[in-house]
Symmetry: D2
């Protein structure tokens, strides 16, 4: 799987993943929930998809916040896998809003 | 904790837990989700609360359905603990609707 | 995927899944844990694999016990998918023993 | 709850939490697992206890690794709550070794 250029990544985020940021190496987004229970259940949703995709996030959690960073290690950059997982994550987050 | 009479249980369900049924020994409700991921994340929400309460459900899951039965073993019947957990469960389910 | 005959199922269980029972329609096993936390974490392990396989258990939990039934709906019987998931489940259970 | 001094923290870690490090502000430990499934199930075990304690970790996960930092926000330092959760976490980790 081929890594996208910085321009391609920024264009994609602008069009389809408006809440995600890119530092050129990964794409990331912060999420805030009502409480820890919702935050961890959101993480469970993502864990189930990530394991299915064989593509896992770099993520952290403190109480009601979750920070997710995505990149594709094998491609040494950001690929369609990351965009697909980010879109899935956005859809999960909608459930809690 | 004291078990409620059948009449008390039915009155409470009618007033505050309209989607729950009682067979006199436990209260129960079926839940249906879009998919397994949502069903299992809902279960995770409940697991986190049940462990905190020290009051655990008798529940089953097949793909996108979850069936939950609640009673209070120590009281040999249905108590306020069951009503409280049922209300929590209803609130969690709202998130997925 | 083709369903196995009763004889084939019983032979397979005898050789490779000694703790599982068959009623001809599904294979099943009961699991007991030290507490609810271990039981639910075991369920989380299985949920992650089941979703990946696209093959989900019919399971129930009460506190520290988990009962799992497996069959293949599309084949109207027990298939290699069930044997594979049962083996995975046994391996997960080993972790908690 | 009172925060411990750096000396007290170091002494406690030396005696009872040998695999944890302290930077004076929090105590931390890295964990490595066979795979993502085990890492996330370990996290589920901790989530269930943390929610019960009302004391949540600052943690991150990448595939088969989990990094956990503990401190007590309200006490602006490290308290007995952190030591208790760290001991629980160590016990959970034992299950996967």
């Amino acid at each position: 799987m081929k890594a996208f250029s910085k321009t391609e990544v920024n264009k994609y985020l602008h069009l389809k993943l408006k809440d995600w940021l890119s530092d050129g190496e990964c794409i990331s987004r912060n999420f805030k929930f009502d409480n820890f229970v919702n935050a961890f259940s959101f993480m469970t949703m993502i864990a189930l998809e990530a394991e299915k995709m064989g593509h896992h996030p770099d993520w952290s959690n403190v109480y009601n916040t979750v920070t997710i960073k995505l990149n594709t290690h094998d491609a040494n950059g950001i690929t369609q896998l990351d965009f697909d997982l980010a879109k899935y994550i956005d859809n999960c987050f909608q459930i809690f809003m």
